[in-house]
Amino acid sequence: MNDVKIDISGLRKSFGSVEVLRDIDQQVTAGEVVCVIGPSGSGKSTFLRCVNLLEEPTAGKVVVDGIELTDPDTDIDAARRRLGMVFQQFNLFSHLSVLSNLTVAQRKVLGRGKAEAEAVARENLERVGLADKAAAMPAQLSGGQQQRVGIARALSMNPDVMLFDEPTSALDPELVGDVLAVMRGLADEGMTMLVVTHEMQFAREVADRVLFMDGGGIVEQGPPADVIGAPKEERTRSFLARVLNPTHTEAAPTE
């Protein structure tokens, strides 16, 4: 594969004696959109958080743009600037205005001047459709607006890769669409994206590749038409049946 952005090999993660990730190998190439789906507790969020080392992997290597993040001598703060992260709970800095949320890291981490940082911030607010909210405080925004600010904040650092950790799971249903639209726009612009999501429609339409995780491992992967459209594995099938048709399922099948 050429132009590999993220190269993960032999990734393992345990919390105490509980093994959450077992031996994951994955590569994400530039411009690729990879959606990670799977039941809760399958380790998909932990997997994503291992990519920017918010979780310290127990074993294995994470290489981003040729820099090994898991090397203890790597400047992790410098490496994280390439990786934008969007959280389920938005995690906007609640003591700062929207504009300051977008400029603070540009100024303190990238050393950009005030004027430049604000210009970049306003450009990104425009991009997520919230140019008029620059002066608002996060608490004054709806969840969907907060999440779009969260995306704009990550974009303001000009990352190479964007990581999304269930970006719409904490939103009221009618607010999900705006956030997904912004993400779809990013994908169309060629951003490399790794997205943990429960939005099957989004995965089906936007993803280049879908990973189905269960029990800490990747059970099935491939183009969305295969994994979501025609899953081979029984575990994928039963998960999709429950997700796509939640009111018409019997109790989860057991093996």
Binding site: D77, L92, S94, H95, A105, K108
Partner: protein, 287 residues
């Protein structure tokens, strides 16, 4: 009451009074007790003597303007010095307490346990008398002595308050800062400490109020007339005027300092409102 009526949930109780009626009787009794106590106080107290002792307007007039221009100003200055120094020291102590370097944690823990456990008076005595004794020829300015003493007392309490505030900042805020490439120190300064101070505004105001009153302990250092703070000024006036009125005046002066502080606290809280807990979870907060 019909004997054959089925038991109902909300029918009249056995006493013949409904819950609402009983509530009214109870509330009426409470008002009656309150009025009786106030009436007894009004009748039994010797208002004439009280007025002479505490509300002697001539004596009160004689206290002005010094009670404001000297005593109240000194109280405010001493408190500000002590609180400023104490807050800075407390922040350092709180960060030491959470340091990954063991000895810092132990030193900070020992400091807090030690100075939290001692009466403020002892600290004033040891700083005011102990330091000049220990280092002959080295004399501390009186204001510095007060700043150190009050600051040491306050910092021991405030360090724990600040630590609690820092711990109360949601972990998601730290993760967001780190994933934007901020170092741990930068995250602490830019994100955690500002939010922690918003959380601990009420207990910090409490501490400022306590220090305002502790500033009265400056009397143990001795003072010239223009160094007197409110309590000492009041005590001196007590002997000069042979009336209790200075106590009342001085007490009112403390309230003049402290009540605005509470108002400022409420203003600040409202201004920085929409706390981290509400702000970051937003609509339909999940797991």
């Amino acid at each position: 009451m019909a004997v054959d009526a089925p038991p109902t949930k909300s029918g009249p109780a056995k006493s013949g009074m409904s819950k609402r009626q009983r509530g009214r009787v109870i509330r009426g009794t409470q008002y009656a007790v309150l009025i009786a106590v106030l009436a007894a106080l009004a009748v039994l107290a010797d208002w004439g003597r009280l007025q002479e002792a505490f509300f002697n307007l001539d004596v009160a007039a004689g206290l002005f303007p010094d009670v404001i221009t000297v005593a109240l100003v000194n109280t405010v200055v001493y408190t500000a010095l002590g609180f400023g120094f104490g807050l800075g020291l407390a922040l350092i102590l709180a960060l030491m307490r959470m340091s990954s370097v063991g000895p810092y944690r132990w030193i900070s823990g020992a400091y807090i346990e030690f100075f939290r456990g001692l009466p403020a008076l002892l600290i004033f005595l040891s700083v005011g008398i102990g330091i000049p004794t220990a280092f002959p020829g080295f004399s501390l300015n009186r204001n510095i002595t007060i700043m150190l003493s009050l600051g040491i007392v306050g910092s021991a309490y405030m360090a724990e308050t600040i630590r609690a505030g820092i711990k109360a900042v949601p972990g998601g805020q730290i993760e967001a800062a780190r994933s934007l490439g901020m170092s741990p120190a930068r995250t602490m300064i830019t994100v955690v400490i500002p939010q922690a101070f918003r959380i601990i505004l009420p207990p910090l105001t409490n501490e400022l109020i306590l220090l305002t009153k502790d500033s009265s302990l400056a009397f143990v250092l001795g003072s010239t007339l223009d160094q007197q703070e409110l309590t000492q000024f009041g005590r001196a006036a007590l002997t000069n005027f042979r009336s209790m009125t200075p106590i009342l005046v001085v007490g009112l002066c403390y309230l003049i300092i402290i009540i605005p502080l509470s108002v400022v606290q409420q203003r600040l809280e409202r201004r920085f409102g929409g706390g981290a807990d509400k702000g970051s979870s937003g609509h339909g907060s999940g797991t």
